[in-house]
């Protein structure tokens, strides 16, 4: 078999080699195709949504393109209901952060002071709000407070959102606490510091990066929450509810203008954080 005459073997060799190269390159090509499709899938909808802002069409779309306009920003700017919803969402977000940050931190500290068995039980209870559908949290909160005569509204929105957002804060603080050397607390105590001073000067500064990140996440979670909010909102309308209502009752590209602004803000935030990270990393390398 190996003794094939070179004369016949040579012409056959070329296509085989090309095929071989193709089959070796194929996985790579397939992967590039997959990656392209994935990114298109992820970003095209956002791009189309944003682009529709500039179309004069009354219904937001890019097909057909009826003409370019900046008018929808103007309409958004003049929409009083939008402003009201935005301020409400910002206020709710801040209130949720103000609640979830101390409670989540307390919960994390509480967990680390338990023995392994009790910790397992409390941990399960504390993370359970993350594994429960948002609608169930909203409904349970609504039912409980109705017994006390308090109906849906901003107060219940904050409470219901904080129920699960606190769990996020708790997890982030626990992660940071795992790297804390408890001997630092004893050292401070041995130097005569009060419990309060130890907390303020030693533990809190250590937790600070985690708390900043947690505040950011908590705010974001609150700001974009819809499912839980829907059930406890009463007649109050935060931004997400406002958008969803618009979709059903009279969507115009003004909503797209809002989406575009939020997307732009997100991009800027992400880039600022990344630059910040790079700067810090660069600084560390030099130091």
């Amino acid at each position: 078999m190996t003794m094939t005459s070179p004369v016949t073997a040579r012409p056959a060799a070329r296509p085989v080699k090309a095929l071989d190269r193709l089959s070796r390159a194929l996985p790579k090509l397939l992967f590039i195709a997959y990656l392209t499709l994935f990114l298109a899938y992820l970003f095209l909808p956002l791009i189309i949504m944003s682009a529709a802002t500039f179309n004069t069409s009354k219904f937001p779309t890019v097909t057909p393109w009826l003409g370019t306009t900046m008018g929808w920003f103007q309409e958004l700017w003049n929409d009083k209901a939008m402003w009201k919803a935005l301020w409400l969402s910002l206020g709710i977000g801040l209130a949720v952060v103000a609640f979830a940050l101390p409670v989540g931190t307390a919960a994390a500290l509480f967990l680390t002071s338990l023995d392994a068995r009790a910790r397992g039980i409390f941990y399960a209870v504390m993370v359970s709000p993350l594994l429960t559908p948002g609608v169930a949290i909203g409904i349970a909160t609504l039912i409980l407070w109705r017994q006390a005569g308090i109906g849906g509204g901003t107060f219940l929105i904050v409470l219901a959102q904080a129920t699960f957002i606190t769990a996020y804060v708790m997890l982030m603080v626990v992660a940071r606490l795992q790297r804390f050397d408890r001997a630092q607390e004893e050292a401070a105590l041995g130097l005569g510091a009060s419990k309060w001073m130890i907390f303020r000067r030693v533990l809190l500064p250590f937790l600070k990066p985690a708390l900043i990140a947690a505040a950011f996440i908590a705010f974001l979670q609150s700001f974009e929450n819809y499912n839980t909010t829907l059930f406890v909102r009463g007649t109050d309308t935060p931004l997400t509810v406002y958008i969803a209502t618009k979709v059903r009752t009279g969507l115009t590209p003004a909503v797209n203008a809002l989406a575009l602004i939020l997307i732009a803000l997100t991009i800027v935030t992400a880039l600022v954080m990344e630059l910040n990270r790079r700067r810090k990393e660069g600084g560390r390398k030099e130091g």
């Binding site: 992820l42 937001p60 307390a106 349970a140 769990a167 969803a244």
Partner: protein, 293 residues
């Protein structure tokens, strides 16, 4: 408890314990117990409360499984959510692996930032984007018509729209946990396996997937829970014939006016999600602490 007081003193320690109690008892346990209690009572007029009609009953639960339409919608929600979970898993696994082990650090970093942007954007807006794309005179139909794949516009809204929107909305909840867990795998292990002549398929089946199981479990639990509990996608992308379980719950509260039945339905949804969590943890042999990260 005493440890908290000892560590932070009676003032600060007591304050912390009070905060934790407020959260766990007042916001996690009490509402759920009240919901359970509520779901076991018939709907009553205020003057019947405490009267002879105020008795415990499982009627609200039997009603769900007795009603053919509701039962069908519930089952559809279960398998639809399962489908979303599997679709996101299949779509994201290769990318997660590539980002964690194949791409350069810069490449992976850039990809991560690119992905974080849609992740941070509101679920409602993400669904709105699909609402626009899938609309009858929207870009998707226009595109398909122009390349001649269809002759007349297709009505995408309905079950297809709902599932497509959910996959889009929750895909990153699958990608990030898997990416995180694969990143902790030593590259040397992969090289060793390759060196020993293992095929790509075998390397994934025997090394990468077992290592990433906590991440996969996390992704599965979250995407399932989010899909089953989703309200935006079905409300915006569905059609009258494609109702989701959360929409029925919503109707009991704000249109049907039977909160007790709504509470029972919500509890069924909650139990379903808890069951999925348990089963997933069992299948992947991981514990809760690995999942909640």
């Amino acid at each position: 408890m005493t440890e908290m007081i000892k560590r932070f003193g009676p003032g600060l320690g007591g304050f912390f314990i009070a905060l934790v109690a407020l959260w766990i008892i007042g916001m996690v346990l009490a509402p759920n117990l009240m919901m359970l209690n509520f779901s076991l009572k018939p709907m009553l007029f205020p003057n019947d409360i405490g009267g002879p009609k105020d008795v415990y009953t499982v009627e609200n639960y039997t009603a769900l499984f007795g009603d053919r339409v509701h039962r069908a919608i519930f089952l559809k929600t279960v398998w639809g959510s399962g489908l979303v979970m599997l679709a996101t898993l299949a779509i994201t696994y290769p990318l997660a692996f590539w980002m964690a082990k194949v791409a350069t650090i810069r490449g992976a970093r850039a990809m991560l930032i690119a992905l974080i942007i849609p992740f941070w954007i509101n679920e409602v807006l993400r669904t709105l984007a699909w609402f626009i794309i899938l609309s009858f005179n929207g870009p998707l139909n226009a595109f398909l018509l122009s390349i001649g794949l269809i002759d007349a516009p297709v009505r995408w809204q309905g079950d297809f729209g709902v599932l497509a929107g959910m996959v889009y909305a929750y895909i990153l909840f699958m990608l990030f946990p898997i990416y995180n867990s694969i990143s902790t795998l030593e590259t040397a292990q992969l090289e060793a396996a390759k060196n020993l002549g293992a095929s790509t398929w075998r390397i994934h089946r025997r090394i990468v997937i077992p290592h990433a199981k906590a991440g996969i479990a996390t992704g599965c639990v979250f995407t399932f829970m989010l899909a089953a509990g989703s309200y935006v996608a079905p409300a915006l992308l569905g059609s009258p014939g494609s109702r989701w379980f959360t929409e029925i719950i919503y109707n009991w509260f704000f249109e049907g006016g039977n909160w007790n039945r709504g509470a029972a339905y919500a509890l069924v949804l909650l139990v379903l999600c808890m069951a999925v969590v348990m089963v997933t943890l069992k299948i992947f042999r991981v514990n809760l602490a690995d999942v909640a990260k």
